[in-house]
Amino acid sequence: MEQQRAKVLMERTLRLYLIVIILIFIALFLRLAWLQIIKTGFYKTRAVSNTMRLIPETASRGEITDKNGQVLVTNRPVFNLSLDYLGLNDEEGYDEIIKKLVAILDDPEITFDNIKNAIKSQSNRLFEPIIIKRDISIELVTAIEEHRRELPGVSIITQPQRSYNYGSLAGHLLGYVHSITKEELEQSGFEDYGLGDLVGKTGIEKTYEHELRGENGFRQMEVTAKNRPVREVREKPSVPGNNIELTIDLKLQQVMEKSFDEVLENVQKKHPKAQAGAAVLLDVNTGKVLAMASRPLLDPDDFNGKPLQQERVDYYFRNSPPALRNRAIQGNYVPGSTFKPITGMAALEAGVISPEGTVTCSGRYWYPPYIKCTGVHGNVNYYSAMAKSCNVYFQEVARRAGMGLIGSVGQEFGLGERTGIDLPFESSGLLPHREWQKNEFDLRAIKINERFDKQVDTLEKEYQKKIANAESDSEKRRKERELTNRKRLLEQQRKIELDYYTQWHDFDTYNTGIGQGYNQYTIIQLANYTATLANGGKHYKPYTVQKIIGPDGTVVQDTKPELLGTVSVSPETITETQKAMTAVTAPGGTAHYLFYKFPEEIKVAAKTGTAQPGRTGYIKNKDFDGLFIAFAPADNPEIAFAGVIEHGYSGSGSIGLVAQAVFEEYFGLNKEETNITQTELGTSSE
């Protein structure tokens, strides 16, 4: 009976039990349907991304050659030590491996923390190898291969790296490559760059980044959970970057660099502050840059994939002068006497002088501030004044021509404006023409007025209080009078300052006329103005890249000279000025001793310059920059030169020697000279 009742009861409870089981199965069924039918697309993508890895393949960066195809910059394979984060799953095991790796490497730069930081900084791209050290030695490669088993996830990747065949030669012009920064990544045009990619930072490498870079490829690999590759699924080979053929002539560049170093060393004996400078050699009929140098040196290899040492950081970025700057295009220099041809041309154009007309130099100009001349030159005409660099003559000429004309001639020759050369960070320099004067003086007037308004304001407030607190009427009146007096005084001061600072004074014109005062130009501007003067007035845009050549040899781009304009200065004026500059290298001229050995058919036209920049670090009337401009042959010009040596003291005694060496090389004169020297040596040894 008991059994029977239990059985009836259980039949009922088992029905309930069945319902529970059915509910469980419905739950499982529904969840499976959700995952496998509704959300399957999502999970399919996840499964594929689980096993697929894109392994980027860096494109080989384009080569850079000189105009004759001599390779200046190429690539060499380097071994990079990298870590594969997915090589292990658990954090602790990873730390162990990193510790082991640090012990094997035994490199002070590579510490446990550094590696951890490298991993952290790549935290959103951990499937890509994390580069621990670039360019490791072959010994280290072997050592790591030997410990392969203990170092899962550690691998060595071969990558092309920039290789500079001539070291620091034309380092500023070529520029350097380095890891891209976050800021650069955000710029447009850099969408397909990744953190850790190399990018041109300065020079040609920067301007032609998108030509040189090529197209990165990738390999798509199927991998296991342990990130072991199983097979290659797809491959997109990388496309090498385009090669670049410069307008630079290796031989000329080498001579310029070598001569620059020798001259600097010599000048330093007398003027130890002479550390920096720049020089440019242009083809006057095209605007091609044939050679360009800047000091202090920049060795692009210093930035090549390794962290800079502190000493190097100071050298390139902090020191004064910092070496990073390409002084040929980034340095603004007071031109000194190299500006005089502009003054002369302005005066000739204005008809206020004739080349033969004389001015008497008694060692000092007769208008205030009575600027001293380089000597007592007596009666000088255009030619002799140029040859001797007479300050009195050119001040007088500037006075006659007036600042308006000087400014517009300077502008026509491209001074005070970026030349548009295909190099980054070009400075504009400063030509104090009328327009600039107006802007500058307006700005100054605003500043001066602001300052005085404020002073008046505080004064009034101060006296308001005093007058309000005055105990008697007489004291009040006294205070009011005091205030009026003091305000009048301030207004007088204001007027004096405005008169002085917001007006163009006559002496400003004299100063400008001899290349001092507000004048500031880049060396490339000086070179291009010299070239324009040399070729009869055609103002070309200077350029450094002749050809862009695809990896298959096809010419992608062949640069044609770009004529920016022809100066309105008359041919006669130009011819006379060329003649005057030729007198500079004739006997009695300031650059005679540099070129007297040159044959008759290769006369050099030049102008020396000794500038007082008035910048910090320069002692007045003691420290000078040496500048030099020149072109040759004087009667049928081919090349133009401009250069500067900071603290070089004189143009002919410093940078002029570089011009001499480069011209000798260009016209093939140095070979005879070396022969002569050798013969002489031979004779003396006999």
């Binding site: 239990a6 009861l9 259980m10 088992l14 039990y17 089981i21 469980i24 969840r31 499976l32 496998q36």
Partner: protein
Amino acid sequence: MRFSKIFKSIDYILLITVMLILVVGFFVLQSATYNASIKYNMNYVLRQGMWVVVGLIAFFSVLLLDISKLAKYSNYFYILNIVLLLAVLILGEETKGAQAWIPIGPFKLQPAEIVKTLLILGLANFLSSRVGKLNRLRDLFPVFIYVAIPLLLILKQPDLGTGLVYVAIMLGMLLAAGASPALLFSLVAGGIALIVLVIYGHYTWDWWLPLKDYQLMRLIVFVDPMVDPRGWGWNVIQSQIAVGSGGIFGKGWQSGSQTKYDFLPEQWTDFIFSVLAEEFGFIGSVVLLSLFFVLLYRGIKIATKAKDTYGSLVAIGVVSMIAFHVLQNIGMTIGIMPITGIPLPFVSYGGSSLLANMIALGLLMNVYVYHDHVLF
């Protein structure tokens, strides 16, 4: 009873269903062990096959004697259960933080699997006299104590998975024995609420928690696997990717990328269902679910047909055990249950589990074979 008679009275639907599950299991096991890193490995399939043979012998052996006649020895089963669990604690070899294995010669026995069956036999007898008298909470206490003693020994190992199976068996058998469903439901709900509260308390007020860190992490990643996607959450995430990416038709036998390339953890034991779901898709999953449902449905039918309450309760115990294994194992692979390492019956690789399940199946069949008084 003679074999000829046994063969005549066997529930063939049940037997064929289990055979089909075993066949499916072989295919999946082959795939799970055909692996990118361990290479082609027939060993697993062969060994599993050997255990099937051993299991079948055990299955038929269990049919030789009417289980109802053993009801009076239930206390011995209960004591054997406790002795085995004590032996594990004393002699057990530690793997993955739990003392689960007893080495016997070349084999390693996993008593956790067999003790479930012993509990069923003991509890069936304990409950059979209480059927219909389990309406109040007070009535349930003796049952709780009866189960709690072996349960505590299991948790001591610690083997949370088997512990949960114990609880499930107890709840299933209590439900069948007529305990108030509302009461049981409140107990389960209350228990879950208590666990949530205790874990919350652990993190907020630093309460003591009788869980090891890894067990706690499993519960946490169940709620949010992205807390630690490469660590504790890995299994949860990768398993669901495997299942979901299988789609309706699956990627094909031995073609699952999650399986082949080692993304799936424990793929021939705990996560074998994910392999099936990835390679055979929704269709394959539903086929296996259906087979399990048929198995359980037949089990419940057998319970209703049993000649006495003891038999019914044994049958329901076995059904509860298998049902919970299926729910828990498949549930964890698809993210509706936290991860506890218990195998999928008849599918997961492992001798002890297969043998224990075949014995349990034998008990179920035993109830069926001997249900008809007339035959004997």
